[in-house]
Symmetry: C2
Subunit: 338 residues, 2 copies
DNA sequence: CTGAAAGCGCTTACAG
DNA sequence: CTGAAAGCGCTTACAG
């Protein structure tokens, strides 16, 4: 075992076994055409030295690495779900997974992180990559699958049916009797944000309820962005009886703001989020929201990437997964239906 | 941009800019001694081609990579917490993070995964590694920090104060009036499992309550391992009034078994876990457990690794973080105190 | 200020 | 069955 210094290399093994590195390589990779006695010698040298081939050197030399990459800009609780799905899809597949995250999240390098990481990994370290929620379009010579793509993205992707999810939310609120329904939008460059807003508008239109631009606020998915917007909406003389936000993080903020303003949820205000993050089940009252299975997004993305890498590119390359309304305590009939 | 095929290399940039790769390398790495006009030419070639240096090639050539590694065998919800802590400790540090997970989790390669992955990463791709819950001792030429080490491990590590945590649990149960307290142990090769059992024994001894070997069951942290053991404990004529398990996963199983047997919790049986995973707050009744901040374990491990890599190895290398009892609905006074 | 050359640890035709 | 040699994409002394 290399205890203190440099790691054990193939040359170390070759020297000890009295053969060339080419032969060691053949043994390590179980190629045919090595005599049994040589194999035994090399094996015991490997054992003795505790040799393990360098991932880096192997990747550089080979075109195929059997490693898939995943690039993300943060680790939220949903990221863990995505990773679980990815790993389950990769079990026994022969592909290992490398996740790359950079530390300058809030630094100058932030913009375009996905493209940069992708380029550094793809083609050498990895055979292909999954990119989670990129801020823009991504390009790569190697196969790529995007989870939650940017708007107008054309690369292979997996995403939840945000349009349908948002539609169901609004229908739920309309059925309860709400007519003034506020909306706090997400970062508009993301397809998800756009579709959720579209669902909001269409569902209102379909019900013959006019869309009041004054009830639409421009958030960016960041919980903090929602606080002033919620305050503004709720300070209006004709304040909404319900607020639907483009994600749960912002919805939880709305709950806080409502409490600060002395409004009871759901008595004075109904609140609905999107995503069904674990916290939404823990708050009091529980948050009504839309479940998109991050696990399945990860699972399907990994499956798609695997087949792209293997060259069998049959099947659709833009998968849309169903969503599901989860009704909890934060929604009810409005006190004074208008 | 390399649209279809091979990625853009440094030679491509060199050719376009009419210089050598050595010069391109100098520009990319902002070394002194390149004329402004050459810099401009190279920069525009890089821009035009969308060149990004290959992580693999750079790692192979350089001794220092400014990338830290993390090796884990699965993605549980606690893994996400660890990762958050690690990332926060690394923010703006100049170190990127690579997480390596292999797909043969349940295959022949399972045993010794941590050592193999470590050897493949350390020394070439990464400057040092964090290993999460290894099954045995790990060795590496490069710096390593272990989260939740194996028993008798001597490498730098970060772990929760499992002994104190388990002690407090037993004291809590004793204070409620329990005297027959069952224990379902974890995988004994892990230091955490051993300490939790030790805490259980010591706290009973300290209170003058004899330890009944018949009340100690040998689980392995896997929820499934707990079901038959719980059944056995609860089938006894002199069944325990409380069961303490070495982790939450097993405790949740005990709750299920109790329900199957028609035992009410906490009326007929008190149950306590360890870890405070999110699910323990969601079950009904809520699970009394011990919180170990996985976030902090990750944070401290990353801090320690960073300083080891940078060569300032002052400070302790075996950090033990405090734990905290979280009392929820699954514990109460025994119906018939003995 | 710039380039030719060696080499990081491997793998793979090509000889023998 | 085995080895010498080239080369994957970079970086870094060493010349000039």
């Amino acid at each position: 075992m290399a205890e203190g210094a440099a790691p054990v290399t193939m040359s170390d093994v070759a020297r000890l076994a009295g053969v060339s590195t080419a032969t060691v390589s053949r043994v390590v990779n179980e190629r045919y055409g090595v005599s049994p006695s040589t194999i035994a010698q090399v094996r015991s040298a490997i054992e003795l030295l505790g040799y393990e081939s360098s991932l880096v050197a192997t990747s550089l030399r080979r075109s195929r690495t059997n490693v898939l990459g995943l690039v993300t800009h943060s680790f939220q609780s949903y990221t863990a779900e995505v990773l679980k799905g990815v790993m389950d899809a990769l079990t026994q597949s022969g592909f290992d997974l490398i996740i790359y995250a950079n530390s300058d999240l809030y630094g100058t390098y932030s913009e375009g992180w996905e493209q940069r990481h992708l380029a550094r990994l793809a083609g050498t370290l990895t055979d292909g990559c999954i990119v989670v929620t990129p801020s823009g379009e991504v390009r790569s010579g190697a196969p790529v699958v995007v989870i939650d793509p940017a708007r107008d993205s054309t690369v292979p992707s997996v995403t939840a049916d945000n349009l349908a999810g948002a539609t169901v939310v609004v229908e739920h609120l309309l059925n309860l009797g709400h007519r003034r329904i506020g909306f706090i939008a997400g970062r508009s460059s993301l397809a998800a944000a756009w579709s959720r807003e579209e669902g909001y508008r269409k569902a209102l239109a379909a019900a013959g309820v006019p869309v009041d631009p004054g009830l639409i606020a421009r958030g960016d998915f960041n919980p903090e962005s929602a606080a002033p917007l919620a305050r503004e909406l709720l300070d209006r003389a004709d304040r909404p009886t319900a607020i639907f936000t483009a994600n749960d993080g912002m919805a939880l903020k709305v709950l806080e703001v409502a409490k600060d303003l002395g409004l009871r949820v759901p008595g004075d205000l109904s609140v609905v989020g999107f995503d069904n993050i674990p916290e939404s089940a823990l708050v009091e009252p529980g948050l009504t929201t839309v479940d998109q299975s991050m696990y399945r997004l990860g699972y399907e993305a990994a499956r798609m990437l695997k087949s792209l890498v293997c060259g069998d590119s049959e099947g659709p390359h833009q998968i849309v997964l169903p969503t599901r309304l989860v009704v909890r305590g934060s929604t009810a009939e409005p006190r004074n239906p208008m």
